[in-house]
């Protein structure tokens, strides 16, 4: 059971200072716009927090480009909006010295071959919900998520969107429950991020003997014979951390463990 509210709170509280700057080539005004500073929750997604950014920069770009979809770039890489912000930071930023995180804002030349378009927040929501369901398929054969009511889905989504911990966890608690007889999930929903994407596999939280598996077991199963470091939520969790506990407490709101693999 996800009952360690202290940990959950700390995870939820994680925010990142970001300095948004408009691409100087797209500025049509004489005056360069000031950078826009924002604290964004690690657990959220960029499309949910960048309305103000868009509004701030909109009047500095050409009229015909104002209706276009805004996209973000860091260090020459388009930002994948469907990754949680914390995952993106852990993947892209190696040292906290680079804070605040400098992100360049674009309105022109949307890189359709590298990132997906999110025409509106509903697209983000449906993506988020699909992830949630996939996680539940792994944990409970999809029984809990599919038996949930629409208003519970809405509460989850609004809790995330509005950064409301209690609202979110009131519903998310049910998704983190374990069945009576097993006391653990069927499989652990996780994604291991590598340079060229992420890997998924079926990994049970316990082995055949009923012993609790740890992060070390996961690394052994995923990357046999390799020396890798797993990073998530901006920290490197101890290898002896049990997988069931990790899944309950260190999952992102989409109920997946997002593990950045550093070799």
């Amino acid at each position: 059971m996800a009952n360690d509210r202290e940990i959950l709170r700390e995870v939820w509280e994680g925010k990142l200072p970001i300095s948004f700057q408009l691409d100087p080539d797209e500025v049509v005004e004489l005056q360069q716009p000031d950078p826009f500073y924002l604290m964004v929750p690690r657990l959220s997604y960029f499309p949910l927090v960048t309305d103000k950014v868009r509004k701030h920069f909109l009047r500095y770009v050409a009229n015909d480009k104002q209706d276009r979809e805004m996209w973000l770039e860091y260090d020459g890489q388009p930002m994948k909006w469907h990754y949680p912000i914390g995952v993106l930071y852990d993947l892209l930023i190696t040292s906290d010295d680079q804070l605040p995180w400098n992100i360049t804002v674009h309105f022109d030349k949307f890189p359709e071959n590298q990132i997906y378009k999110f025409s509106n927040k509903e697209t983000v929501e449906s993506y988020f919900m699909a992830c949630l369901k996939e996680a539940d398929v792994l944990k409970h054969r999809g029984q809990i998520a599919s038996n949930m009511q629409k208003k519970d889905h809405n509460q989850l989504w609004l809790g995330l969107q509005n950064d409301k911990f209690d609202q979110f966890w009131a519903v998310n608690r049910k998704l983190m429950e374990v069945s009576q007889e097993q006391e653990h999930f069927k499989y652990i929903p996780f994604k291991c991020y590598l340079d060229d994407g992420y890997r998924q596999k079926l990994i049970k939280p316990v082995d055949e003997d009923g012993r609790r598996k740890t992060l070390q077991d996961l690394i052994n199963e995923m990357f046999p014979g390799k020396n890798v470091v797993i990073k998530t939520h901006g920290m490197i969790p101890p290898l002896e951390t049990p997988l069931q506990w990790m899944s309950e407490h260190l999952s992102y709101p989409d109920n997946f463990l997002h593990l950045c693999v550093q070799t």
Partner: protein, 124 residues
């Protein structure tokens, strides 16, 4: 998804190899342990979706769902603005960048990955 030009080229190449691979179905067993793992998939239409003549396909494991969807749209000659939704386990829509190997590892049954497809959203 990393480098656009090479990605496109690769997609075209993969399609050819993907089709040619289907001609000699028996080879895939031998290729299981090679660098590029081949995945058996079974495509099932749902709702108003057109039926594909060939349901069983073999595809490279590193191909993302979006690539499969594009291939299917071309194969069924759908209009560019028409949408195609793919579902796993008749439950959730996988992320467009999800690769076939991950899905195969997690959700395959009896050595095959079953993907349901339709033209309107089915399983919310």
């Amino acid at each position: 998804m990393s480098e656009d030009a090479s990605e496109n080229k690769g997609a075209a190449d993969s399609l050819q190899s993907f089709q040619s691979m289907n001609i000699n179905d028996g080879d895939q067993e031998n290729n299981q342990k090679s660098d590029k793992q081949k995945i058996d998939i079974l495509l099932k239409p749902t709702g108003n979706a057109p039926i594909m003549k060939k349901k069983k396909w073999t595809v490279e494991g590193d191909k993302p769902i979006s690539w499969i969807a594009e291939f299917m749209k071309r194969y069924m000659k759908l209009e560019p603005q028409e949408k195609l939704f793919l579902y796993v386990n008749q439950t959730f829509a996988p992320s467009p960048d999800q690769i076939m190997k991950n899905l195969y590892d997690c959700y395959s049954t009896e050595g095959k990955l079953v993907l349901h497809y339709c033209k309107t959203p089915a399983w919310g």
